[in-house]
């Protein structure tokens, strides 16, 4: 089944610069329906208010971190099936394991390139 590039994508990061980078890279991949949040709390609110097809989230944010957001998403009956990609500078194996145990769909370590982003998105959404 073809990937719906009009799906809403939520990018979550406390660095405005990174939000802008992700938005631009997603636009180059033809995903233009992008919304932003600067921490897990704001992200969760947005996820409950609208239908999103993908979450791309940083880990290290306050007050709600990326993994806390992930756990909330996976515990919510309506949200639990949303693909969730963690994009973070946390590159220790224990982080990856914890994210996997919390139900992450894929994991990208910063700094990353557009090709990696595309590959990880394709792995959770299907080829596009």
């Amino acid at each position: 089944m073809a990937v719906d590039k009009n799906m809403k994508v939520l990018v979550v990061d406390d660095y405005r610069t990174m939000l802008r980078i992700l938005r631009n890279l997603l636009r180059q991949l033809d995903f233009r329906n992008v919304e932003e949040a600067t921490d897990g709390t704001e992200a969760l609110q947005k996820l409950k208010e609208s239908n999103f097809g993908l979450v791309i989230s940083d880990w290290n944010m306050e007050p709600m971190t990326g993994i806390q957001l992930l756990r909330h998403v996976r515990a919510d009956e309506k949200l639990k099936r949303i693909p969730f990609i963690m994009v973070t500078a946390e590159s220790k194996p224990e982080n990856v394991v914890a994210a996997k145990q919390a139900g992450v769909s894929n994991y990208i370590v910063k700094p990353f390139n557009a090709q990696t982003l595309k590959m990880k998105m394709a792995s959770v959404l299907g080829d596009f």
Partner: protein
């Protein structure tokens, strides 16, 4: 001369009751001093070795206090550490501004690329992608600098705790060190005193203000 007896156990219990398990170095020095005083003139009842150890401990504490005071821990917590944090925050701010300027320009390039076709379009789009990817440095450096700022805050807390542990005597020495008169005011600042840039936002003056200031000399 009769030996003045000191009930060490009682002294220690009193200290523990007053300060818990964390006792100020100053109080430890008092206990050591009291023990030494009690043995003065008649050390027969006290092992000479223990006496010597206590005396050495007392000297060590006094010397450590003087050394720490001369390091001016107040300067470290009041000036150097806060100044370092401000500079690091300014780096994050400046790199964020620069990164956003780069992306402003790149987004214009991308719009131009949309109007092109074929290889030219592809080459320009690839270039913009690479610029966006490279802009990720700001996020990484920002996070690293935040970690350094946190470490500086930790050091500040530890130094504060050290100063508190050494108590009022340390502050007394600090005041004495501070009391040394500074250079007479009204004289032109030394060259090294002028090396404080780049200034953080709000600390320096704008180019317009500099121009006006220079014009005042004409």
């Amino acid at each position: 001369m009769p030996q003045r007896k000191i009930d060490v156990a009682r002294l220690l219990t009193e200290l523990r009751n007053r300060f818990g398990d964390t006792v100020k170095v100053e109080e430890v020095a008092k206990v050591v001093g009291a023990l030494l005083a009690s043995g003065t003139g008649d050390v027969a009842g006290m092992s000479r070795k223990i006496y010597a150890e206590l005396e050495a401990l007392n000297r060590y504490i006094q010397s450590a206090k003087a050394e720490i005071a001369s390091l001016r821990p107040d300067e470290v917590t009041d000036e150097y550490l806060p100044a370092a944090s401000v500079e690091l925050d300014a780096i994050v701010e400046a790199t964020a501004e620069a990164t956003n300027s780069i992306m402003d320009a790149t987004e214009i390039m991308e719009r131009v690329a949309d109007k092109l076709e074929g290889e030219d379009q592809e080459a320009l789009m690839d270039a913009t992608t690479q610029i966006y990817e490279a802009c990720g440095f700001q996020d990484i450096t920002g996070q690293r600098i935040s970690k350094v700022v946190k470490a500086l805050n930790e050091i500040e807390t530890k130094v504060d705790a050290l100063v508190a542990a050494f108590g009022s005597e340390l502050r007394k020495v600090e005041k004495e060190v501070k009391a040394v008169p500074e250079e007479a005011s009204g004289e032109a600042p030394a060259d090294e005193d002028l090396l404080n840039g780049p200034q953080v936002s709000g600390e320096g003056i704008s180019q317009d203000e500099i121009d006006r200031l220079l014009a005042d000399f004409d």
